[in-house]
Symmetry: C2
């Protein structure tokens, strides 16, 4: 019998396993749990056209057949093959103007997070700040690396810079060094909140003043309709922001291609200086060596198909997700008219995009409640408490609208309303 | 200026960078350095046929078009999509008979190593033993995880169980727990040595007696001609061996697909027990989430092409590598006939397969010597000292024969002989 590193025991993972079991046990239930992309926009044949397009592109760039073969079949550079194409897309789509050298292509955004944490969490006094509730990928990576996480609670309109400053100063007082803040500024997972432009400017100013880095995770921009608030990275004049990107929600989830933009200067242990991206690539060489050239080729083909304008070619997809979110918000309005809303103690936020929204309820939205919901009402959701690294969210539900067809959203909300009614009635004292 | 985690400063990486620079600066030199696969057996169009074959296979298995699309485009299970196919291939090719559930598909073998170390190195007293000289991927992964590495020096015929036992007992005496031994039993990287069958049996017996796990890395079996000595895993009756596999040397390097066979029972932090493979998959979910389904599909297509018998379909490739090694050994015999061999103090081993062989010389085979060799003689090799985590190998050279055509091997050895002559002459006292 072998014992294990304690970081492997991940409480979040265990709760997620509970959710998976519920989903398996009630296959007929409508599930607002998975943050998976909607599938109808994908087509298996796209794989072949994407790959062919990239191979043709390499040939058109003057690469010989042997060079193309080598690019596809051999190990490639740890930092990635398609950095120029990603840099072009960031410039056109996001106004992020960085040299290709500051990009590292990763196995999904998750690896980018892991690399950034491994590089930055330099000593036992270093702590990672997270805007909470928080995406479980970052807390899971931190746990594997034995890195301490400190939560800054989101308010209704998201992270408050004043709260962040208080936390940073308190951490310093107890001898810790807050090293970086992880945040999903756009249509956050799990809350759905978007950080206003004014807060973004304040946050950058604060990061400079407090000597803090920002890990900006941005998976939901390309899948949200209309113009987006500028990224922190596009507003970053002091290299305070490490921008983490993903094609997993938009172009091709199964390719598992993400990236980090890391144009910071670093001081190496031997006293020399270098680019953070180079250090991330070195770390990557000891974890996955390089991101599959085949996967990179598929994503590059998709980027080339959109002529660099991922936003534009993605507009149809983004409109679909926007419609799903609107359908969910209309459904909530219909199921919970003002009087019922007030009687049941229900409220929710109204994200303009992304995959998630937050629903407040008057009862404990825990695993037991989830079991009753799935078994008796045929509807599944995620307890928001899963996403609070230091407690909280006990009366909050995360609803994901991304994976369901609009009619499923409507039927699911009818069931959810019945479930909520039942919970509230059960909690009332017998008359 | 940002400081970095000390594990990022990798001395091996720095030496490798030196080697890369030498290679860039002397593009006309013949290089015995890279352990890259020979490219002539790959063909870019294979990518399309492999993928199509796997998609057809899924359809033939009764999967609907929507299910196939979902398998390719969505996130998949962290443990992998193609575990059954890998289990079949292990049974047919290697006599390793394990349930598919004990396999985790990884981003190359490197990720499999990283996952195993993260799971097993449970506390600060745990140490990883390595057979030294040692593949740099494992020491790099250990450094990133702050895991201590203790080297057991290889003898001419490889690892000695007596040496291993002495090391284990010495480590225990100083309060350490030797947790696992990493070894490449077949045509090792870097030494080229193969562990005899008798030693394999002894090692398994010793692992059981000393309560030690064995990380068996096996990338060079499929690229070596003729019958191979049985893997440790196929001889393992006590679940002492975690077998690490790779398709990166054989079927498709650019797919970046490897795997771990981990059928051990583990004790979790909460007191429950489980399968080590499941724990590795959990860790993976926090590092790369899952291995690209696209990459897995390409490898699966290649596996299906060989009807499960990778060994057989790979025979031509293995024969080529075997011929390269034989060409190198003949070339060494020709360049260094007995008298010259003795005068120059040169000797080498004679691997029957794999990519690497070891050459002993009478001078310091360090970076300075490498520079002279590249600049003045147009031949590049790897100092064996790069592969010794705790010193050694100063008079030893690693020669890789995998990437070169046979004529290049011959010309390269002529140059190498001239270089060695020059070094020995320079070292002699002036008469």
């Amino acid at each position: 019998m072998e014992d294990l590193h304690p970081g492997v025991a991940d409480p979040v993972m265990d709760t997620m396993n509970f959710l998976n079991e519920i989903t398996l046990n009630y296959p007929e239930a409508i599930s607002f749990a998975p943050g998976r992309p909607y599938e109808e926009f994908f087509d298996t044949e796209q794989i072949f056209t994407h790959l062919r397009r990239y191979l043709d592109y390499l040939a058109a760039q003057g690469r010989s057949a042997a060079e193309v073969r080598s690019a596809m079949f051999q190990y490639g550079p740890s930092a990635g093959l398609i950095r120029e194409l990603i840099a072009d897309s960031l410039r056109v789509d996001e106004g992020i103007d960085v040299p290709a050298e500051s990009i590292v292509v990763t196995v999904g955004c998750q690896e980018a997070m892991f690399l950034a944490l491994r590089a930055l969490m330099a000593g036992p006094e270093d702590v990672l700040l997270v805007s909470s509730p928080c995406y479980v990928g970052i807390t899971g990576a931190a746990r594997l690396l034995d890195a301490e996480v400190v939560a800054v609670k989101e308010r209704e309109d998201g992270l408050s810079c004043a709260d962040l400053e208080v936390t940073v100063l308190a951490e310093r007082k107890r001898g810790r060094r807050p090293r970086a803040l992880y945040v999903v500024p756009d249509h956050s997972n799990p809350s759905g909140v978007t950080m206003p432009l004014r807060t973004r400017h304040q946050l950058l100013e604060l990061a400079e003043r407090l000597d803090l880095l920002i890990l900006e995770d941005s998976p939901y921009r390309l899948v949200s309709p209309g113009a987006q608030v500028p990224t922190l990275k596009s507003l970053d004049r002091r290299r305070r922001v490490i921008h983490l990107g993903s094609f997993a929600k938009s172009l091709f989830p199964g390719a598992r291609v993400g990236y980090a933009v890391a144009d910071q200067t670093v001081l190496r242990a031997d006293g020399t200086t270098g680019l953070l991206a180079d250090e991330l690539a070195k770390i990557k060489s000891m974890i996955t060596v390089n991101t599959s050239p085949l996967s990179q080729a598929a994503v590059a083909g998709a980027l080339l198909a959109s002529d660099g304008h991922v936003c534009e070619s993605n507009a149809e997809l983004a409109a679909h997700y926007g419609d799903s979110m609107q359908a969910a918000l209309r459904g909530l309005d219909r199921e919970f008219p003002a009087a019922r809303r007030s009687r049941l103690g229900v409220s929710w936020n109204a994200p303009s995009g992304g995959f998630f929204l937050t629903l407040q309820v008057a009862f404990r939205a825990d695993d037991d409640a989830l079991s009753r919901s799935a078994k008796e009402f045929g509807v599944i959701w995620t307890p928001m408490s899963y996403f609070h690294p230091d407690g909280g969210g006990d009366h909050t539900i995360r609803l994901s609208t991304s994976y369901l067809a609009h009619v499923e959203v409507e039927e699911g909300l009818r069931r959810l309303a019945d479930f909520i009614e039942s919970e509230v009635v059960a909690a009332q004292p017998h008359g």
